[in-house]
Symmetry: C2
Subunit: 427 residues, 2 copies
Amino acid sequence: FLRGKLTVRDVRFPTSLEQHGSDAMVGTKLISAHTDPDYSVAYVVIETDQGMQGYGLTFTVGRGTEIVVCAVEALSALVVGKSLEEIVSDFRGFYRLLTSDGQMRWIGPEKGVIQLATAAVLNAVWDLWARSEGKPLWKLLVDMDPRKLISCIDFRYITDALTEEEALDILVKAQTGKQQRVDQMLKEGYPAYTTSCAWLGYSDQLLKQLCTDALNDGWTKFKVKVGADLKDDIRRCSLIRQMIGPHNTLMIDANQRWDVGEAITWVTRLAEYKPLWIEEPTSPDDILGHAAISKCHNRVMFKQFLQASALQFVQIDSCRLGSVNENLAVLLMAHKFKVPVCPHAGGVGLCELVQHLILFDYISVSASLDNRMCEFVDHLHQHFRSPVVIQNAHYMPPKDPGYSCEMLESSVQTHQYPQGQVWKKLQ
Amino acid sequence: FLRGKLTVRDVRFPTSLEQHGSDAMVGTKLISAHTDPDYSVAYVVIETDQGMQGYGLTFTVGRGTEIVVCAVEALSALVVGKSLEEIVSDFRGFYRLLTSDGQMRWIGPEKGVIQLATAAVLNAVWDLWARSEGKPLWKLLVDMDPRKLISCIDFRYITDALTEEEALDILVKAQTGKQQRVDQMLKEGYPAYTTSCAWLGYSDQLLKQLCTDALNDGWTKFKVKVGADLKDDIRRCSLIRQMIGPHNTLMIDANQRWDVGEAITWVTRLAEYKPLWIEEPTSPDDILGHAAISKCHNRVMFKQFLQASALQFVQIDSCRLGSVNENLAVLLMAHKFKVPVCPHAGGVGLCELVQHLILFDYISVSASLDNRMCEFVDHLHQHFRSPVVIQNAHYMPPKDPGYSCEMLESSVQTHQYPQGQVWKKLQ
C-alpha cells in the first residue's frame, strides 16, 4: 500500500519580514523566545502504490526546518514498504518502531527534532487512514471502537499514571450521549479564543481597533503575549481588560521568558487584570517551576505536570507531540486528572490539525466544555485545501475526509526553501 | 580568528556487527533502549584563519548521525566569522546565541538533536581555547579565575536553585587546597569504574574471565547492564557479586527499560546483590519516576532531579549537555545539593572528554572523592590522538593541550559514512 513513496519538503513563509507591515494578521511582532520567526513546515506526502495520498506536516519557525526534513528522510525508511493495514493493525507497535528505533532513539528520545519529524510522518499516516475511510479525522476517531483506539497508544512510561484498563474505561463511559455531542458540535462548533489581538509592541490604537473588531465578530476570550517589558505588559493588559470588560476572558502567554523567581514577581504584578492562565512562564522542561499551562514535548512530561499538579490546563499540540497517537494518551491522562484541555494552535496548519483532536476530546473523552477552548490565530489558512471554518468564535467541524493538512500545491512550490519563487525574489 | 571554516563529518564504527565476535571489548552485546548500535560521532573541526585547529564531537549510535551533522551545519553560521577572543570574552552570550537562536530554538530547545549538535560545536571551541593557551582543558578550567568561569555559564531557568553569587562562592571556597589536589590527581589519577565486564547475554564463562582480568588490573567497581530478562539479570548479578566479593562495588544500569511499577518490582528482586545505584530505570524525562541516577539533556532537568531529591548521583555527559558550559552549571548545582557526580562515559570519545570535567570537579568544586567515580569502557580509544590513560583503575590527567577529542585523520577517513573504506566494504 505504502509501497509507493514518501516525499518531504521544506516550506517557509517569510513572516519575519512582515513585522513592519500593516497586516496585523500575519503574526506580526511575534516575540518571545522565538523572535523574527519565518513560519514554516516540514511537509510530508506519502503515496501508496495505488496512487492514494496522505498529507502531514510539522510546524517550525524557519532555520532548522532543513534538519527536521533530514530527520523525516531518516524515518521514511521505517514507513515506506508497509501497507496502511499493516500499520493500523498494530499502530502501537508502529509508533514504538518510529520512536524507539535502536539507533535513532539516542538523538531523542521522543523530543526535539526527531519528535517533530515523527509527528509529520504520523500525521500523514493518520490523514491517509481517515481518507481511506472517507471521513474527517475527528469522525474516524469518534466512530472507532474504544479497544481499537487504545491499541494506537503507547503506554510506555505512563502506566503509573494511567493504565490501559483505566483508559478503556474512560472511553467506554463516554459513549453515553456521544451522538448528541456530535450533533451539538456540527451545529455550534467548538469554542475558540483569539491570540491575534495583542502581540507585543502594538500601539494603543491598533489594540483598540483589533479588540473592537474581534468583539464584533463574537470573540469572548483573548490571549495577550507578555514577558519582554513589564511596563508595556501592564499597558496592554490594562487596555485589553478595559476593552473586553470584566466578564470576558483574558489569558497571558510569556513564551518561556522567565526564571521562576521573575515569573512570580511579574505575574503578581499582572494579577489585577485577572488572567485565567499564565502560559509557559519558564522553561518548558521545568515541571517543578510550576507552569500553569505548558506545551510539552511528550506524554512523560505531561504525566509529571499532571502528577505534580503543576498545570491547571493541558495544552496539547498536534505537531510537538507524537501525532494523534500520543495526543490520545495525553487527552486520557488529562481527563483522569480532571484538568481541562485547551489546545495550542496558530503557526502553519496547527489550527487545521488540532481542531480534530479537541472535537474528539469533547465527544469521546471529556464530554465537557467547562473552561475549555481552542486557540485560534488568523493567518496562513489560505494555503490549505480545507482551511478551518470559524463561526461566531467557534471552530466548525471539518467535513472533508482526512486530517485537513493538505496544502495547495502552488503554495508549497512557491514557498519551498530556498528554491521557491518567494525566496528567490528575496535573495 | 574563526574566520576560517567549520567542517563536520559523519563517522561511524560498525560495532553492531561485532556482537557475535570474540572481542568482548568492543561494546559487544550492548542492549537496552539502544540495540545494535553502530558507535558514531558527528566530528567537528574548526580552523582559524591563522591555521589553528579545534576538534569537537558528539556521540551517537548510528542512524540519525546525519541529522546531527545537518544541525551542526545549521549552527556553523553562528560560529564562523567570530574570533576566539570574541567568543570567550562573552561565552555566556555566545552560549545563549547557539541555544536560543530565535528560529532554531523551536526545534529544541536545549534538547535532542540540536543540543547534541551544540555540544559538538562548543566542544570544538573549548578545545581550541585550551590549545590556544597550551593547556589540557581541565587545567585551563582549574587555572581560570572563578569570575571568568562563572561568565561561561548560562543561569537562565536555574536561578531558583543556584544563583551566580552562590556559584561564585562555591568556586572561591574551593580555592583552598587546590594545588594539593592537582598534585594528588597527577600522581594517583581519578577513580574509575568499569562497564566492560557484564553486558547482557554474556556466558558464565566469559563473565568469570572478564571479572578475573579486571580484578587483576585493579578494578574495584563494576557496572552490570540489566533490564531485558530478570532471570538472566539475577544470574549475572549473582555471579559478579560472587566474583568481586562483598566489599567491591556493583552498580546496575537498566537503560530506560522500565515503567515505574516494573522498575520497583525488578529492583526489589535485585536488591540482594547490593547495587550502589540503579541507572536510568525509566524514561530520562521522568523526574517524578524517581531515577536514582540519570543522564539528563540539560541543566533544567538536572535542577529538578536535584530539587525533587529524585537522584542520589548526578551523571554528567560531555556531549548530551551543552558542552563544558552547561556541565559547569550542573557540577555547581550538584555541589550545592550535596550529590556526588559520577560521569557517564564510553561510546566514542566520551571517556576522553569527560575526564577533564571530573578532574575539574574534584580540584575546583567538590574537593571530595567520596562515592565518586568516572565510568570507563575500554573501546575505540585507539582512534584518538591522545587516548585516555588508565592506571590501576584510575584516569590519569591528560597532558596534551586541548580537550582530547582529536581523532586520527586516518580513522576518520576510513570510517566516514557512507563513503569510507570500512563502509564501502560492507555494502
